[in-house]
């Protein structure tokens, strides 16, 4: 374990911004692809890409949680209330991510089919636990996604507030290695 530090470290910074890109990309793609018409060029590729990126983000997030548990990280900035709220928000974001991965997986594997990740490898499916699992998992996946995006926007606004109003290092230390 590293000693308590003032820096997040290059790997975590990269993982953070990759995750941010993936989360907003997946949201936009998911929101758009559900209304595609049958003859759209994207009818098959958009869901395939959404699922593939989703699985890769799930793996990245698992790695990130492992890293988080085994490495020291910079102390949170701001007053007590801010530190508590941000801690809670971060935990919620991780929880929403895990639940999104799970619910998404449960849609596509409800019939026992696996999920192909970019024709690269296949995550096996285990079928249904409940009847019409794909419908319930789909509804949950949608609402979790809206919640996560709302929280991510709040997270970004809070970072901007730290940067512009408090003029502290919250944002810059997540950008500079």
């Amino acid at each position: 374990m590293k000693a308590n530090t003032d820096s997040w470290g290059a790997s975590l910074i990269i993982v953070h911004w990759l995750s941010a890109l993936a989360v907003f990309g997946l949201f936009a793609l998911g929101w758009w692809m559900v209304d595609l018409t049958y003859y759209s060029d994207w009818y098959r590729t958009a869901p395939h890409t959404h699922k593939s990126v989703g699985i890769l983000l799930a793996l990245l997030t698992l790695f990130r949680l492992f890293w988080r548990a085994t490495h020291k990280r910079p102390a949170p900035l701001g007053n007590k209330v801010e530190r508590r709220t941000s801690g809670l928000a971060h935990k919620l974001i991780y929880m929403l991510l895990i639940l999104l991965f799970t619910s998404g997986y449960l849609i596509s594997t409800a019939d026992g089919r696996g999920i192909e990740v970019f024709d690269w490898f296949t995550v096996p499916g285990f079928g249904s636990v409940i009847e019409n699992q794909e419908d319930l998992a789909g509804d949950i996946h949608e609402w979790l996604a809206y919640t996560l995006i709302a929280l991510a926007v709040l997270h970004a606004l809070a970072a901007l507030k730290h940067h512009l109003i408090n003029k502290d290092k919250t944002l810059t230390r997540m950008i500079k290695f």
């Binding site: 018409t37 049958y38 003859y39 869901p47 849609i107 596509s108 594997t109 409800a110 019939d111 089919r113 249904s128 019409n132 699992q133 794909e134 419908d135 789909g138």
Partner: protein
Amino acid sequence: MKKTMLTLAAMAFTSTPALAADYIIDNKGAHASINFKIQHLGYSWLTGRFNNFDGEFSYDADEPLKSTITVNIDPASIDSNHAERDKHLRSDDFLHVDKFKTAKFVSTKISDPKDGGGFDLHGNLTLHGVTKPVIIDVDKVGEGKDPWGGYRVGFAGDTKIALKDFGIDYDLGPASTHVELELHIEGVRQ
């Protein structure tokens, strides 16, 4: 008292068709199925079925024209052997099962009896909240005692419906505007 009983018995006798037997569709033993098929892009047939339904009918081989049937179908039980497609079929692009929780067929009349015991079955099909008359071409498959002390009769029928007639207008292409329904019904006499 005796007189009342006799009157009731007489009333019961006259109010039901003289010889028509009442049958319940054998969904418990799954000796019935409601299947559908639709063209995929015009290149092949996509088949599926509705897993949950129940129904009953009256049928008498001597008077087939007096037959009646009612079938209730749970549209959410649609099964095309692909969870993502089934999810789409249950969504508001197709069956919209959250809003239209039941589908059913209620017969109105029988016509054109055939030699083998078949006939044209006229009735109203309710699907996606729309009720339209349809005619099902019915063939009788067989009738008789089963090995377990019961009595059964079974039919096969098919009909073709336009999705647009039932308010389903998702564009699946010019070859896929109609769905063929294939019905296999075995009834156990009550």
